[in-house]
Amino acid sequence: MSATEPPVTCVAPAAAIRHATKERRAAWILTAPALSLMVVILLAPVVIAGLLSFTNYSLGNGSFDWVGIHNYEKLFTRSTYEKMFIATLTYVVTVVPISVGLGLGAALLINSLGRFREFYKTIYFLPVMATLLAMAIAWEFMLHPSIGMINRTLEMGCGTVLERIWPFMANSCAERFPLWLGDKRYAIWVVCFIGIWQGFGFNMVLYLAGLTSVHRELYHAAEMDGVRSAWERFRLVTWPALGPTTVFVVTITCIRAFQVFDTIEAFWPQGGGPNKSTYVMMFAIFEKGVQQNLIGIGSAITMLFLAFVMFLTLIQRWLVERKVHY
């Protein structure tokens, strides 16, 4: 470089800096309404619930006391809440794998169909469209111990060979058929069954959407590579391609399972089932926070609930980023 040449400057002129500042301010002003709405509508309620969970506040009371972690302590010591956790986890652990599995199975079967595709899709999706509350009433009828369809049907098995090969049948015929909704041994499983019945159609639709994204040429490539059985084809092509769908389906189903409420409210408006065997978290929040006006403990359960859901979502994000995006 010759000495007469001016040095190259990399510094932006003052005017440009001022301009950039101005632009940044305008950007903030423009995003402010959206930001404040987000804070007020989405974040504030969570923060408030979080704060309330450390108080003994009741709606209508002018004042409240800070009680520290007292509410949380209760959650982890009282037997009612132990039952709550057991009922919720039983429900989640049963409903999620079964309804995801059934959804996947139904989607694969329907996808392999030529005709009647739309027909089956509609049928399986019907329970999803119907409100659970209305359906619960229908189920309540069917499950009625003496005039319900289910026990009537089972009664027809008495005196047949079924009685000899199925101990449940033998016992029931000798004594009586179960009070499905009144027996603490059965209540939670009935709720699980209805949850699966209602939810798997939704998973099926998600999986059907996922299946359309599987590259058809991959199946041909697999065939050329010597893949002969449907199972191998599923393992090599379909299942990996459905990875992102599966993560999404499992997360959504988990969250929905944690949120189960309407069935229990419809069957047992007071008290969460026989011996609190179906006292799930959502129902507990409703009972404590709304019916009994114990906002503090209701908020504490809510926070716990949020923590579960948050945890699931984080796992999903991690899985999606690490494992299923190629």
Binding site: A221, E223, D225, R228, E232
Partner: protein, 385 residues
Amino acid sequence: MAELSIENIAKRFGETEVLKGISIDISDGEFVSLVGPSGCGKSTLLRIIAGLEEQSSGDIRISGQSVAGQRAADRNLSMVFQSYALYPHLSVGENIAVPLKMRRMTGLQRLPLLGNIMPGAREARGTIEQDVSHAAQILEIGHLLDRKPGQLSGGQRQRVALGRALVRNPAAFLLDEPLSNLDAKLRVQTRAEIAQLHRQLDATFIYVTHDQVEAMTMSDRIAVMMGGRILQCAAPDVVYEDPDRIEVAEFIGSPKINILPVEVSGEGRLSLLDQPLNLAVPGANRGVASLGLRPEALRLSGEGAPIHGHVVHSENLGSELYVQVEVTGLEEQVTLRTMPDRRSALTLGTPVALDFDAAKALVFDADGARLRKLRNLSATTSEVA
């Protein structure tokens, strides 16, 4: 390695007849290209050979054995797909290993964790690994074996797809437009690599493309397909210089052949734009015909030349110059190949007179069939150039 014979294959999709009786014999180690315009049924034919689609009628023999009713997995053919169809969740090495694993290992040995403790699994895995690295070495992708297909460039993916095809010594390779996703430069390079690979493996290749340059440069024979039929199947230079039909002449060659409408008068003498040419087709019916002249068959001439017109466009490729000439009396322009040093004399609008080399003239009848019996009426063609 094996020879393949395709006998009278027809294929219908419902009402539409896609293939109308295709027959070719492909000998062991031959490289045959199937070319033709889009939608002519090339992929369908290849997929029928592979066994991915069933023919409506006809038969396929591999090494003399009919493969009717045999599924694709049992035909021992390898295919490279247009979209490569690599398994996205498997690494490059695992992708290449799939065909070997499926054939050499039992279902139990392939199980994710349990498979490792099955008897024989270790050894099988060992030999598969060796074969994979051998294939990778041939294709120079050894350094990519641990990557996922998503992390590769188009050319690298293409080579992985080739690797998956050649790792297991198939009876023949079927390639369906494997280069169509590559950019122009990479295509030229990969073209050469595939041709080289063919020589190296000495295997039977069936190569589908709609790019005639690819077909011309790589193949032993070209089968030109159109409308579900093979119009001609011959060596590249034969297809270019001695086409059987006007469609073949038009499809092969770039820039396209010039087709001029001519009249056949008494004694088979041809006339262009009412001017008699020094060319006759003895025994041809009177009426219209077509005269095909490749750009290199035309040359600049003086007075008395049969074609007159003026320059409307020229393309200088450096080694040669293509000049578009609008001919008085004709709708279509003709293309002429000449030396780039004539460029200054051929500016836009320059009137030119064109003559042609009678030995290189191709005459087709009204149906497009080639008329081969040509007679040159002027023993001394004017050598003005």
